[in-house]
Symmetry: C2
Subunit: 141 residues, 2 copies
Amino acid sequence: MHNNFILNEQLDADTTEVINLGLCRVLMMEDARFPWLILVPRINDLRELHHLPKQHRSHLFDELEATSLALEQLFKPDKINVATLGNIVIQLHIHVVARTLTDDAWPGPIWGAGKQIPYTDKQRTNRLNLISTKLRQLTSQ
Amino acid sequence: MHNNFILNEQLDADTTEVINLGLCRVLMMEDARFPWLILVPRINDLRELHHLPKQHRSHLFDELEATSLALEQLFKPDKINVATLGNIVIQLHIHVVARTLTDDAWPGPIWGAGKQIPYTDKQRTNRLNLISTKLRQLTSQ
């Protein structure tokens, strides 16, 4: 499945790659307000969650669990939000976001809430290292 | 798992029950602007998606698929949105929403978008019948 995977241009522009897990490419959203990951199954031409082939579904759940646990352990959030909307970017992608009672959008959804704040280079590098190291531990990669 | 399941009061107040599938109670959100279902695994004290016990995960995916297909077949949407936020109502519940390019919130998220429009009794009954019949067909219940 993975060999000729092409990431959607808009997702590519809005994020930085964290790691490739068994099924998904894990991306970090360029918004320093929220620890915000995006999982993209590396299968071309997928749009809807329920179109994911059955043999990959438990992998997706495992990777949603690993990314959720990574965010919980690193950022001690009050809630994990998991969502696949895809109204704008049509390639199937699943948001996994660590939310806190004091974040800029709480208790509302993050999409469309206020203005994105880009990471500084140092912040981005630090956070990418933290998250990729934790995900490697949790998935034994 | 199911015997003493208690639905969260706020979810109960905001929705009407459509059907019980094998794992989830399927609810219809009281908002006539969107075909909007909510799946609640009938297990008490669950909050996060990744806390769903492993033996129930494929059931959840099957029921997400069935509800998505039901909405697609009945309402011909442009996109299905699937999300579990739970920032306000803490019982684990997963939104499955049929979105169209002309709906009131497109392309933004539906949560917090504009004012809810209640169903009339006739609309509610008709829609419940449509959806429950379709879900029975799709799940052979």
